[in-house]
Symmetry: C2
Subunit: 476 residues, 2 copies
């Protein structure tokens, strides 16, 4: 019964990732490398924003506490600092039967949800946050998917539409498509540092009205892949826009801990909205997402994220609860990592010093990586990289010579996929092509993660530089 033509047409609409062509080649490169048949000594995979893959070390305190939660005999061992053991004890008290193997409540263990609410309120300078509005899940994207399930439907003549930025992290768009929704692109202004512009939001909205029923706007700040950090003014404009058009605002804020620029500061949509005052602050619906995967902690594999909903009416909140309850609960260790993220060791506690050293080292490494990437890329002919103020990626534009574009076409690839494949096969650097994330017709970009060790970044930039000069020469 499940011949291809009979499966869910929304699922059938899900396309292969554009990066797929590069990833497929990467398998071949890994094989060749093992046989010692390539002119470089190892593959540098910066196609994902995965800090530990990039050689960034996990934070000792986090791992000590979680290990003790898993194997409570460690709580009485002097191998671990006393505050790590105490914290483990406190976290285990949140678990039924004192075990991380028990289910928690649907929204997360109540004490952990409470910690998250306190963190949000602290972060936002006292704007209240209620445990009622917070749902912990295996990651921010799972949360997004549940909120989209609420908003997207098929009744009426037109599908539901969600405004999404271009470029944009592709998984968010796939969630819209999978549910039968239409993703309506609004273009970020590369020349203005990937700024969001209201005229463009208006254009996208108006153009979409004939083909869908727009229900929400998705935004990611700090940006992925752009690295842009929004100003308060820009956020206020977005809020006024969504309010006027009656759109649900989906604010992906998973990179809130990763601001690298001196001139930029992360502000949450919740705070900016609250400070705009009534009637906006009492009415505009908002979902804000955060995660343990991103930022300095980088615990992607533990799977823990949350969404906080604002101004969603109680009758609808009951349905949100039902949606999340179907998923039993988020991984308990992911929930605990979230608690450790929002409640790090404090001055005077035994683990404070090491924790501070480690996190400062990560922050300064990332900052250095960003500056070096901007510097080197902007010195290369044909490359132009907007300032990277936050997030995990650089997304430089590469102006490819017409002969390279032609060759790409001959080989059945998008120009930047062709570039990424060559960069992979000739220099052993695995990046993502811009076409994976969306870009203005005719432009080409590559995306790579800055979540690496400092020496890895230097080697990476050295390889890109050599390769690029050679490539430009070949196709000039």
């Amino acid at each position: 019964m499940s011949a291809l033509r009979e499966i869910n047409p929304n699922v059938r609409m899900m396309k292969d990732l554009e990066i797929g062509v590069v990833l497929k080649r990467a398998a071949g490169v890994r094989e060749m490398l093992q046989k010692g048949k390539l002119p470089f000594t190892g593959l540098i995979d910066v196609s994902w924003g995965d800090p530990h893959t990039g050689g960034v070390k996990p934070i000792t305190f986090v791992r000590q506490v979680l290990a003790a939660c898993l194997y409570p005999q460690l709580i009485s061992s002097d191998k671990l600092p006393v505050d790590a053991r105490q914290r483990a004890q406190k976290l285990l008290a949140c678990c039924e039967g004192g075990s991380v193997g028990s289910y928690t409540a649907t929204k997360g263990a109540p004490q952990i949800v409470s910690s998250v609410a306190e963190f949000i309120s602290r972060r936002d300078g006292g704007v209240p946050s209620s445990v009622e509005n917070i749902f912990i899940s295996p990651g921010s994207q799972w949360c997004l998917s549940n909120v989209l399930k609420l908003l997207i439907h098929h009744q009426g003549s037109a599908p539901s539409g969600v405004l999404v930025p271009v470029p944009c992290y592709d998984v968010s768009i796939r969630s819209v498509v999978e549910l039968g929704g239409l993703s309506v692109p609004y273009y970020l202004q590369e020349e203005q540092g990937w700024e969001v512009q209201v005229e463009e939001l208006n254009r996208a909205f108006e153009s979409s009205k004939e083909i869908c029923n727009p229900v929400a706007l998705y935004i990611i700040n700090p940006g992925n892949p752009t690295g842009h950090v929004q100003s308060r003014r820009s956020m206020q404009e977005v809020i006024r826009f969504v309010s006027e058009k009656k759109l649900f605002l989906l604010a992906d804020e998973v990179y809130q801990d990763s601001v690298h620029g001196d001139k930029s500061q992360f502000l949450s949509y919740k705070k900016v909205l609250a400070e705009m005052g009534p009637p906006l602050s009492d009415s505009q619906e908002l979902a804000s997402f955060h995660s343990v995967s991103k930022g300095f902690m980088g615990e992607c594999g533990l799977r823990g994220g949350y969404v906080e909903l604002t101004n969603v009416e109680p009758a609808v909140m009951a349905h949100v609860y039902r949606l999340f309850s179907k998923d039993s609960c988020a991984p308990v260790l992911g929930q605990m990592a979230l608690e450790l993220m929002v409640n790090p060791p404090q001055p005077g506690e035994p683990s404070y010093r090491l924790y501070t050293q480690e996190t400062q080292h990560i922050r300064s490494t990332l900052r250095h990586n960003v500056r070096r990437a901007e510097e080197v890329l902007n010195s290369l002919p044909g490359f132009s990289c907007q300032p990277v103020e936050g997030g995990a990626f650089v997304f430089p534009r590469v102006d490819l010579p017409p002969r390279a574009v032609l060759r790409a076409k001959e080989e059945g690839m998008k120009p930047d996929s062709f570039y990424c494949v060559r960069l992979l096969e000739e220099a052993g650097v695995l990046t993502g092509p811009g076409c994976q994330y969306g870009q203005k017709e005719g432009s080409s970009h590559i995306r790579f993660s800055i979540m690496t060790r400092g020496d890895t970044m230097e080697e990476l930039l050295r390889r890109i530089s050599c390769f690029h000069l050679q490539f430009m020469k070949e196709f000039s």
Copy 2:
């Protein structure tokens, strides 16, 4: 924009759980208990099949290995047995950057998927299992949900229908409803030990054809909540039925490790199908689900499960991959727990003895709990409990006196919800009402977990007995 009337109508169809009324009261009981205002000394919560909540101890080897994976300094510590440390080292070698904080491949870390495939083939007496067909996710229900996304759609005049047993674990049904599918009930025959009967499957199928387009049959074996274990003959009948009706077979086999009866044996649908030979074995589509949450390991909070697909055509498999890829990957520690489940310590290894002691203790406790529950319940007037051959629950029928039914109605509750509320408030035992799982009109049941310590089970049965006799007297 998300007023209640504007949200996704499929989501709006999701109802509150019937058990909700009992759970709400439980919060009050917990509060009263803390104030010492109740005649019993603690709440026994057996409403979920959560072994660690029930006081069952985690398996030492599993926790030692996972703790060392989280905090690799433990690998060089003599606090842990050498095989646990070696296993941790081996598992960390599956992780990018040697960290459980890295993402794995979408389907799970390749080495772990391989271990699962080898386990399946071993379990099924050599029937081949391919890594291509296995997807690891945060739990078997997430896997089920992804497979249902493939099968259920809204095109054409009728919604897709899925045949589901009554009684049935409610979350599986909610997944169907959430996607806009119709769940078509087929009744299990309580008097025949909750057997599946083909005439009933036929009746359900024929009755559904006018209101939906039936696409799949869901079955859970060993049963939840019924505790029934299917015979080979019964499974063959089901396979012939789904084949004839061109239905995808969804086999929930998460309780495969939990067979308590001497006369019963778990057989996988994959094995039975393979042994039926072509053309059935080459054509019938099958999804089989398994998990680390159920059975003796009981690591619900780690979140790890898998699905194996059989006879799904390659073009469709590509879409399954896309569906799973949207979810990044399953929690890495949940994946590792899965690896430990399918590859326990072997004779001669240092951890073998303790592992065997622990698992045998759990198995014999569960077996004892089941026998005691059957014995005590069947001795109570109005109770009748079918033999519990497998799974985590007993699901006895309670024939409630007409006056109790009337009183329930007056209080706006289903009869068995009323019974459960009284059992909770008067005896401190938290169970689930039969109406939560579905049952024949006019009958009443309760469900409770047998995944508890032996002394907890004795206390539980003592409380139920005292309460029940009092209750019957009150309403006689």
